[in-house]
Structures are given as structure tokens and as C-alpha cells.
Symmetry: D3
Amino acid sequence: MKLSEILVSRFACGEVYARPLETVRGCDVFIVQTATHNVDKDLMELFIMMDSLKRAFAAKVHVVMPYYGYARQDRVTVPREPISAKLVADLISSAGADHLVTITLHSDQVQGFFDFPVDNLIARKLFVQYFNKKKIKDLTVVSPDAGGVKEAKKFANLIGAELAIIYKSRTAHNVSEVTSVVGDVKGRTCLLYDDMIDTAGSVCNAAEALRKSGANKDIYLAATHAVFSDPAVQRLKKAKFKEIVITDTIPLDKKKIMQNLKVLSVANMLGDVIKNVHESKSVTVVL
Amino acid sequence: MKLSEILVSRFACGEVYARPLETVRGCDVFIVQTATHNVDKDLMELFIMMDSLKRAFAAKVHVVMPYYGYARQDRVTVPREPISAKLVADLISSAGADHLVTITLHSDQVQGFFDFPVDNLIARKLFVQYFNKKKIKDLTVVSPDAGGVKEAKKFANLIGAELAIIYKSRTAHNVSEVTSVVGDVKGRTCLLYDDMIDTAGSVCNAAEALRKSGANKDIYLAATHAVFSDPAVQRLKKAKFKEIVITDTIPLDKKKIMQNLKVLSVANMLGDVIKNVHESKSVTVVL
Amino acid sequence: MKLSEILVSRFACGEVYARPLETVRGCDVFIVQTATHNVDKDLMELFIMMDSLKRAFAAKVHVVMPYYGYARQDRVTVPREPISAKLVADLISSAGADHLVTITLHSDQVQGFFDFPVDNLIARKLFVQYFNKKKIKDLTVVSPDAGGVKEAKKFANLIGAELAIIYKSRTAHNVSEVTSVVGDVKGRTCLLYDDMIDTAGSVCNAAEALRKSGANKDIYLAATHAVFSDPAVQRLKKAKFKEIVITDTIPLDKKKIMQNLKVLSVANMLGDVIKNVHESKSVTVVL
Amino acid sequence: MKLSEILVSRFACGEVYARPLETVRGCDVFIVQTATHNVDKDLMELFIMMDSLKRAFAAKVHVVMPYYGYARQDRVTVPREPISAKLVADLISSAGADHLVTITLHSDQVQGFFDFPVDNLIARKLFVQYFNKKKIKDLTVVSPDAGGVKEAKKFANLIGAELAIIYKSRTAHNVSEVTSVVGDVKGRTCLLYDDMIDTAGSVCNAAEALRKSGANKDIYLAATHAVFSDPAVQRLKKAKFKEIVITDTIPLDKKKIMQNLKVLSVANMLGDVIKNVHESKSVTVVL
Amino acid sequence: MKLSEILVSRFACGEVYARPLETVRGCDVFIVQTATHNVDKDLMELFIMMDSLKRAFAAKVHVVMPYYGYARQDRVTVPREPISAKLVADLISSAGADHLVTITLHSDQVQGFFDFPVDNLIARKLFVQYFNKKKIKDLTVVSPDAGGVKEAKKFANLIGAELAIIYKSRTAHNVSEVTSVVGDVKGRTCLLYDDMIDTAGSVCNAAEALRKSGANKDIYLAATHAVFSDPAVQRLKKAKFKEIVITDTIPLDKKKIMQNLKVLSVANMLGDVIKNVHESKSVTVVL
Amino acid sequence: MKLSEILVSRFACGEVYARPLETVRGCDVFIVQTATHNVDKDLMELFIMMDSLKRAFAAKVHVVMPYYGYARQDRVTVPREPISAKLVADLISSAGADHLVTITLHSDQVQGFFDFPVDNLIARKLFVQYFNKKKIKDLTVVSPDAGGVKEAKKFANLIGAELAIIYKSRTAHNVSEVTSVVGDVKGRTCLLYDDMIDTAGSVCNAAEALRKSGANKDIYLAATHAVFSDPAVQRLKKAKFKEIVITDTIPLDKKKIMQNLKVLSVANMLGDVIKNVHESKSVTVVL
């Protein structure tokens, strides 16, 4: 099935304009728009496309947002903070969405920010297939912080690897933070596994900590969302990973391509989900 | 009264963050945010500031938006177009606004896109005061298109000038569009008066048409919103206006400052309106 | 396809009552109700019919309102005015509509007063077909005020006529308003073209101005909505138009039938639109 | 305290227009509008006044509707009926009300049709004061149908009268309906007591039934809402009540004034309630 | 058609958990949940089931609630009372229902508490079939209070019985309430008919009043909803009804089974309604 | 300030009833209702109290819910699960709340489930004061699972203790889960610190793991919410904690009082917050 054409352009003054070029009356429409470094523009483009579809009498508007922007601002940690991930959910709803398909949300609770159904796909399967083929021996999956342990555990089980955790602590007060490694990594091949790489600070520190703890073989890095904000590329180059495996949930700037970068595509997974959603079949079965 | 501090910053990944630095619990808060060339970023900043204020228990959130972005997309002219001005109204409402103060909306009907009160201030008074001081003789106010005639008429009356109109027509079919001048401008000083200057195409064409019609004295240009998208500055320089009088509803990029540019400030007018809104006094009296 | 029966009656106390006489469960229902001189009764009838349909489990309620009442109150021009056109939109939505089909809205921005899709049909095609058959020579289409110029231009192009504008101005202050004609009408047949005729004051003044400007042949009048409030009929009779061409968007009181009145029917156009909406086909194709 | 001025007028085309003539910014506004025989016009006037107040930044809009129109259409008795009393509640809410004050609702459940507070005042006190002064001997309060018995009982207790009921029954099938009197009325003065008089059919039948049952002294009639639809006046004149006591919740057409008609005013009661609502005091204390 | 499986369980802490065990994507789902003595738990279970269905992308959620809990709190009788029947309607709507099917609502006005369609089925037909088969001679249907007379009249007509009413009155003030019987019951078989039996106080008093009025033959009791709160069973046993006929809208506690209890099932009626709703056929025809 | 009286009772049929006994018109009302083992009843009581307050014209309704029920169901972990914590948020909003005050939410993201402000108080200060007074030497704060580490670290810093973590892992696949202790606990006094104790399984296992790891001195247990579901008390008795320190966010069943149980009161903290909210002062300052 081919993509329906929609005209999206910007006026000289910076305002965006969108118009579907075919009738969408009574159609089940899927808009695919991800968040990039121009997240505010991406969102306004999405909202305006949705408005044009809604007013053109689309039956249902499904938003497919492989990387959900503002996902990390999901709670108030300091008084008077916004909850931007909720705000984005409200704006998406207000602009007329009926359903959201997204990939590996930073926190699962974001699903509850919506009043309509959310399909939160997990890209894990892609990494499992990729690393299973490699048949790496003595492999340990490493979670670079406490928050990702659960997911890292599931992943490690599926590829038959052991698990370790990088843990930042300040064991006594007035002592500076220490990065320690929990689990045995001595002499093992390591695979750092996380949901996203933003400025790459924590994963690069983690790689260093692993080496200090005796992980003297290859270190792989795998993460779903390659945000790659400056100075991510510099740091990653310096950190000398054997391979950096990401997905294409965020389009990669050509300048950010590195020799040891491997991009797995989420396209087939999304395609299957869209097909099953459209045919009202279970989405669980394709994951 | 001093401005309350609010921290607004951007993360490396491009996401904006906002947090009021003082308690706003129970306060009547006014956020001043206008639309610039980065209109999508301006809007998302506004929404996130509003979210932080709403969650910090502000009593009322008044949005002061001197230049309302996307105002020109206010209707469907070709099938399947968005009504972006309505979408922006919906997003502002969804993010938690209780009131909008804006200046010289492109079409008055945009007020009806909101369910809450809108104060649409008209900057006319500032131009009247400025030009009355000049005591220009034989002055004709010129509206550069049919849409702005009503407002131009009011303005001309207040400064004791005559009125002319620039009128684009295709009087017979298959004939290219002609710019004609309605009203006598021969030998008179002209003042082109409009709501906004975007790429400056129509006002520069208008100036040319005036000269062709015998307006061989000074030509002034006055407009509330100086959007100044490329190639506005080039065109304006070439058009040799005696003076270009604008307001500061949109912050002016230093590169766009021209010798013959005069900026009138809306600050006092906004200040008076904010004061009266806060004290529940009539806003009409300050206009 | 025959009309479904719905009982609409009024009690002795003046309250209206409505009840569909057949099951509408799961149906796509179109209610045709226009605004007449009893606009408040028309609206309440519409709302009560919608309530009965919604509670009887109609799948979708499409409101077909050939003439949209209160359309001219679409903005605040004097402080503290209502925006009645928006209020009507809110009440229609609140009573349960999913879609509005209307004809030639007074201002296109009213579409943005709704959160759901609006099909604003333009009756122009009917007038084009009618006047093309007449093969009138030396014809000039005249817009009776500045607001209608854009539409008049499109119409003139389609019937191969020239364009003129009636223009009310007060070129200097303290001088009474003057009606002037822009464009050459001397010795030509004129066709005044507007969206509606209410009390007929401006079109009759326009006819007089045309004659003063040398339009000494026939003058036709064409307008979509024949509101015909008093003293429209008296004025129209006195103005001696060759022909007054209207549509049947508003049912015509028998007392208001004049010899030179020609009524074009919008029934086929509405029928085609309803059919395509129901079958989820493009509505654009039938216009 | 004097009434604030609001301009309400109708255009030639039948559309209503409203505009408050003073600033209402930040004010607690009470609009008094009752339902009459032109109930649809009354409602649209109310909605448009509310829209003008809301857009003029009134702090709270309290609707004071002494007689609530469409109150009797409060449930579906035959399939596919509207619930017009709920629809009216939705429209009032949609137009911007924050509170409703009304008098003697036809069914108390209508309060639940609103999401905001409703003060349903009972006019009983006025009737008690009026009849207590008369010191009528051997008085029996009569409820003209089963639905009003509870209220009639409370009233009878407060004026020290006995109670009787008019009861329409069809004790066996295929037998025509019989109006019977429950309770002893022989030789007693009777007072028929109801919430409203519409066409007066049932109260006039009731009076006849009372006379047949031996009520050979005066018969009084008392009811809160004097809807008086045709042929109410004819019937009431023929029925020869000693006195017909009503309130002024609905303005009385001069043609409907009868010699034996006594109108009690709800003005003081409403005034006290408005005062207490405005001062956030208990409303219960003034009833 | 078999029931779809949904897991409903409670955690040790008392919280309920629900999860449909099959895909419901795009399905028209009917949840059957009635109100019992644990009405708050029943409601929360219902809400949580609805949340799971809504998030699993059910097309429509139809709530089938044979006995609607909190139905009697349908108006404010004493200042500051809640309208719990409206609150329950709001909560059901908020949790995601699209439609309600219920049986014999305590007051029909509760339908108006919902914005979506409500099918209020009346169980009368079941009682008619049951009693017609018995061919009881000299039968009088008795309404135990004024509120139920209309329904009792319809029922009596359908089974060819006469009608009587139990009427509680305090004919003069300062006199204790008297239960009197309106209509002749002397020597007749009586059938007390009501919408529900809660603590059974009024029906047992009614039976006693009937006997005192000379009803010396069998007395039957029929009611749709068998709430049977303590001490209903004790009272009913003591009252010696010939037969107590109820329906299964509320599951009956085994301890409450009495020898003279006959339970009619609403299952077929509900099944037919669900079938017709699903197939968008008229529901009226199956009643 | 004394508590305002509100009548809360249950009918024989299990339905709850609530009515404020004083006028609340225009008042800022705080309802304190926590979740207990009868969480469904607690919630319905809360909703019905809110409905009565809203209809009695309370200015603002602040819900003070020390322990937020259903907080752990905050995301979909298995397809088709409900997000009950969001549902509860929706129901609270639907019933009319304007603000929520709660203590130590299970996950901070629940704040984003609300559209209005949420004050999520942290009980940490109470524990700090209590343990600082004890001046325990060689103290290690232990987080019983990975999720609570951040909070445990803050707490440890404030009381000058070291930090350890209990960590459940399955380091290789097909190996049963192992509870390991991260950080040195040998010979130290331990303080297990968590947000809630439900069935006490994990804290008792943690205590055992600590002992196995050489923690041969006292083990304290501290947690904000004492849910204490069966078999919590049995397990806690067996686990021989030196002291179990909880707060009174959930009323403690007398049967669950243990000798080594210490209850800290949140009353003062809540009182201060309520006072500051009511006076529109910062809430941050009292924490």
C-alpha cells in the first residue's frame, strides 16, 4: 500500500502549512511523525496535519510517533516544574488524535497521560535477533543505571547473557558520587543496553567503569532512540565501542554517522502494527 | 511592579524547560510571549510555561501575545486545509489559559475561536499620536488592499487625512492582475497603513503604484506587526519610504534595523491593560 | 430514497416536541433545518430533534443548515458584544451534531467556530449555469461592497464578465459618506452579486449608484440567501431590477413573491453532497 | 441596588442582539429571564446575554429563571423521545452559566441534569402567608393529581387544613377513565393546589368533581406558575373559582387578567436569595 | 455466542484488578454488572473493567446494569444532599461507557443524567406472562404507594385485574400517619406490585392494611428488584404472602431463598436486547 | 479551627449517603479521606461527599488523600491491563475536585494523571527527625528494591547513614532469582526504608538477606504507608525487627498493633499544608 500524499511546507515567516492531497473522508488515517532536535516544530507540524485531517472528515486519526518527545519530563521533581510529557499528551488529544503508537516510552506511566489507547511497542525483539546472530561468547548485558534494570534483565534472558548493573552512589554523605559495577564483568564481553542515547555521558562513563572493573574485551552499546545531542558523537568516538547499535526511530543526521554504528529498522514492526490496527486484529501477536 | 522570575531553558536535545522561581499559588499570572520567526518554539515555550503555572496553582493564567502566530490561517479556502489559527486557540486553551490579550488580530473572527474572553487591543492610537505630532500637510492614508479599508478609514479620520485604496483587480478574465489606485493621490504625501508587514511584497508594489499615479512627495509606511520575513528588508530598502513606522509587538532582529525605521512601543498600553485586568476595571477606558 | 418521518409539533404553551417515527439506531442521520425569520424557534427545533436522535442511538448526526442563522454576529466590534455565530456553533455541538453542511457562510472563519468538520458549499455554480444560458452581452458583475469582491471576481471570471465594485467612502473627515463605483459601467448591463439580501438597502443604493454612473441598461441582482426582512420587498420593487435571482436556502413567504423573482434550487447540490458524505466520497467533486 | 443595564434588541431578520452597557469585568452577574409562551426566543436571548457577559469577563454568571421552560419533557416515555429539560440544561451550561436559581421545578430530578449547583426555591411560603391571613374555616387542600400529593400534604399541614386527592383511574380494563375524589370534601371549602396551570383542563375537571362530591362551598385555586395557554382563561372563567391565586414567575398578559385573580410576588424571595448567594451566605435561611 | 473471558480478581490489599483475556480491538463489548449489597465494589469493578476495555481499543462499551445502584438518590430533598444517581452516571461516563442498558429505573428521569443513549427496559412483560398463566379470579393489583400507580395501572390492564392503592396520609395536622386503602379489596385476591423490595417494610405494612380492609383471600407480591436488605426476609416470612415473585436482576443470596419465592429470569429479554443493539435493530420490538 | 461536620452513613442496602451539616457556600473545603482495605467504599464515599459539596456551592474542593489507592496500577505491563491509578484520577476529577494533596505517591508520574495541581508531600522529614534523635551508630539505610534507591539515598544523607541495596536478580537465564545485598552491611545496624508495607514479603526477605550478609546487629524497618494486608503482621512478628516505624496515613486496625510498632503522625504536616493552601502561601516552605 502506498503512502497518501500530504503537502507540508513552511511560509517565509516560519509558520507551517499542511494539506492532504487526496480525500480522507471516512478513512482510518495513520500519521507518522517522530520527535527530532526540532521537537517543537515536529509537534506543531503534527498538530496542524491532524487539524487538516480532522476537518477533512477522517474517520480515525492514529498518531505514530516512534520517539515520543518530552518523554523525560514526566513528573514534578522540584516544586513548580511542568509535566511536559503530560502537556504533549493533552496537546495531541486536543488536536484530534484517537490513538497513539509509539516505541519504548521512557516511562510506561506516560500511557496513563492519555485517555485513549496507546500502543507502546518495545524494540527489544530487533536487538535480540541482531545479537543472537552474532553468537557472542561470555556476554554480559549491562544496564547503565538502576532505572533500566528490569528491561535489561528481560533482554539478557532472551539472548542468553548474564546481567550487570552500573550503579551511581554516594555511600556516605559528603562523599562524591561513585560509579560502581554490580555483577561480575571481569574478562567478559559487555553489552550496554539502554532506552536512549542523548548526550552519551552516562553510557561513556559506564564503559569506562566497566573497563576499570576488568571488562577487557569488546564493549557493545545498544539503545532504541539515538537522540545524539552534542557532544554525543565526540564522546562516542572517544569511548571506542566495538559497535553502537541503534534503531531508526529518529532520523540520523549524516554528520553523525560513525564507522561502528549499526542502525536496525523499526519499519517492518510499525508496518505490521499499522496493518493489524487497521484490521482490528490483536497488536500483541506481531511483537 | 517587577517581573516575576521564570526560568526558561533548552536541553541539548532541543526540548524546552520552564519553571517559575517564586511561588505563584493563588496569583493572577500574566505571561507575555509573542510569535516570532520561531513561532513553533515560541508556542511550545508558552504551553510549557502555562503547564508549570497551572500545576503550581496559579489562580488565573492570562496570556499576553502581542502578535498572534498563525493568525492568517483562519479559514478553509481550498478543501482539506487546516484552520491553524483555531488549532492554536485550542492548544492555548488546552494548556490552561483563562484569558488572552493580543494586539490587532489579522481577522476579528479569531476572537470567536476562544471560549474565554479575548482582549484584542488595537495599536491605532500609537500611530495617531505619532503622526499628529508630525503635522504633515496634504496627507492621504492608503490601504494596500481591500481587506484593510475599514481600519484605514478610522485611522485617516483620526489624523485628519484623506483616504485612498490600492486595489488589485483582473477586470476582465484572461487578463493579468492590475494594481490600481482608488482616490486621488496626485501631488500628495502618502501613508501606507496595514496590520502587518511580512515579506513586504504588497506594500512595496503599492508604493510603486502610488508613484505611478502621481504621488511624487514622501511615502510613509505604518504597520503594527513587523514580521519582516526575507526578503522584506531588501525590498523595503529599495522602496525608499520616507519612514517605516512599526511597533515592538515582535522583537526586531538587529540585522533588520534600517535607518528610516521608527519603532513605537506597545509597552505602556499593555501595562495599562494588565493593570486594569488585574484590578477588574474596564479595559476599554485605557484604549 | 425517501425522507424518514419525524414528528415535530408545538404544545399550547409554545414548547416544541420532536420524535423520529422510525428506528434510527446505528443510522447516519441528516437533519435539514434552515434559519428563517423565526430563527430562535428554528434553532430550538433543531436542537430538540438532535437530542431525540442522539438518545435514539443514531450513529452520526449531520446538520444540514442551508442558511446559517446569526452568521453576521461573528466578532466583537464594540466592547461587550456577544459572538452569536460562535454561540450557535457551541449550541449545535452541545446538542450532539457530528458534522455541519451549510451554504455560502457570511464569513469563512465561522468554520473555525466548530471542532468538527464543516462543509461550506458555495452556490456560485448555480448562478454560473443560469447566467451562462442567458448569454448576456456587455455584462459587468458588481460587488455591492468591499467584503464581497473576492467572490464576485471568481464569479465574473466563470461567466466571462467584467468586474466593478460599489465602494462606500468618506474620503475626507467631516464629509458625508459617498457611494462610488470603481470600474467602468457606462452603457453596460450590470449584475449585482452578493451573499444575502436582508433589508435590501445596500443593493438598492448600489443600483441607484450604478445608474448614476451611466449603467443605463438592465441591472440584474443575484444573491444566495433571500432573507427579505421588511422593507426588502418594497425597496426591491421600487429598484426595478430586470431580474432578482435567489436560491431556496430560505423558504420564501408567498407574500414576498415578485414578478421578476427567479428562484434557483439548491436541492440537487445538497442531495449530491449528502449522498457523497454518506458514502464517504469526496464532497469537492460534486461542487 | 439598581439593575445594571443591558441592551437587548432584535434585528429586522429576527435575530436577537444583547450587550451589557456597563463593565462587568470581575462581577458576579445575575441574569433574570423566565420562560414565557415565546420560550424559544426567551432561551436564545438568555444564551446570547450569557455569551456577551462571559466574553466581557464576568466572574460568575448566575441564571435566575423563575419558570424553567421545557421542564415537563424530563424523561423518555415513548421510544425516541427527546429529554428536552436535559437539553435545556446542557445549552444553559454550554452558554456559560455557573449557577441556576429557579422556582418550583416540575420534577426535582431536573436538578441532576446540571453539573453545577441549582437552587430550586419553593413558593409554598407565599401561599401559606396569604391563606393563613384569610382564616378560612373547614378548609380542605386538594391535590388535582397523584403526582402533587406530597407537596399538597406539606402545604395543608402549614395552613392547618385537611387533605383530599383527585384521582383519575380506570379501575377495570375497557372502562373509561373516572375522576374520583379521595378524602371527605362534603360541605367543605376546597383549595386546589398545584405547581402550574397550563391549559387549566385538569384543575377545572377537578373543581367539577369536587362539586359532584358535595363540595358546595367556595373552591379556591392556587398554583405557582401561571402558564395560562389557550383555552385556560375561558375554562377558568367558566369554572367559577372563588379566587385564583398565582405568582408572578411568568409575566401575565393583560388580556388574561380576571376579576378573581390574585398575583403573589416572588420578587422579595428572589431578592433575598440573590443577596445571600452574592454574599456566600446560606440560601436555606431565607426560604 | 459464548461469553468472552475477563479476569477479575482482588489483591490482598482490597484493590480490584481486571483484564480481558482475548483481544477486544474493534469489538462492540457488552459488560454485564449489576448493583448488589456491595454496590461500591460492584461499581469500581465495573469502572476498572471499562478502563481495561477502553485502553484495549474496544469500539464501543455497552454497560448492562440490570439493577442501577444509588437510583433512589435522584434529587436534593434536604439542602446540601448529593444527587448520587447523577454522580454514578457521571462516573460511568467518565470511565468510558457509550451506552447503558438497565431495567426498571426507580425514576425515569435518571435517563436524563446521561449524555448518551439509555435503554430502560421494563420487566412488566415477564410478570404479565407469569400471572396470566395462573388465571387468578377476582384479582386486584395494588400499588403500595402513590408513586407506583401509573405502572400498576398499566400492569392491571394487561392482566385484566382491578386496581387499588395503598395511601399513607395525615389528613389533618398533628395526627399520626394513617395507611388507607383506596379501591375495593373486600373478598378479593390481591397482588402487591412495586419496582423493588428493599427492607420490605412498606409492602408488609401494605399487606396488613389490605387484610384489615377485608382482603381475606391470597395476597401475592411482585417486584422487579429484590434488594432484600435486612430485615426483609424476616418481615416477608411473617407477612405470609401466597407467593413472592421477583426477577434475577440482583443475584439472590442462598440464605434469602424462601419457600414461596418465585424468580423470573430477565436473561432472555437482555439477550434479545443485546442482539438487537449489536445489529443496530430497534430495541422496542423485543420488549 | 474545628472540623466542619458532615454526616456520612450507609443505608441497609449498602449505599452510602453524605451531607454537610453546615453551609459551605463559597468555602474552600478540604475533605480528608484515605484509602484503606475497603478502598472501593472509601472512594465512593469520597465521590459522594464531593458531589454534595459541589452542589452546595463550595468554592473549591481540595481532596486530602494521605494514601492514594490503586497507586501501583500505574501502567500497562501486560496487554489489556487497566491503568487504575489513572482511572481513579479521572473519577476524582469527574466528581468535582480542584486539587489533590497526597503523601509519598508510589510513582511520581501519577501527578501527571491529573489536570489540576497535585501536592505530593514526602513523609521523609518525619523519619529523619525520629531517627536523628536515636543517634544510632554504624547505621546503614537499606532500600529493599531497586525502585526505592533514589529516595533511600536522600534519606541516608539526611541522617548521616550509609546506603545499601537489596537486589533481586537472575544473573543468568534458567537460574532462580537471587536476593543479593549491594553495599557493606557486615556488623552494622540496618534500617530498611520503603514507601509502603503491603503483605511485608519483600521486607522480611530483605531482613533475612541482610542477616545472611553479616548484619548481626539490630534491623529497623521504616515505611510511610502501612497497608498491612494479610499475612503482613505474621511475617513482621516472625522477622524480629528492632522497631517498625510507620506513619498514620492509613488508620491502623487494633489487631495489627505490635509491641515494636511506632507510629509517627502526619497530622501536623497536613495541617500546615492545608493552612498554607488556604492562605495561598507556598507549600514548599512547610515541607
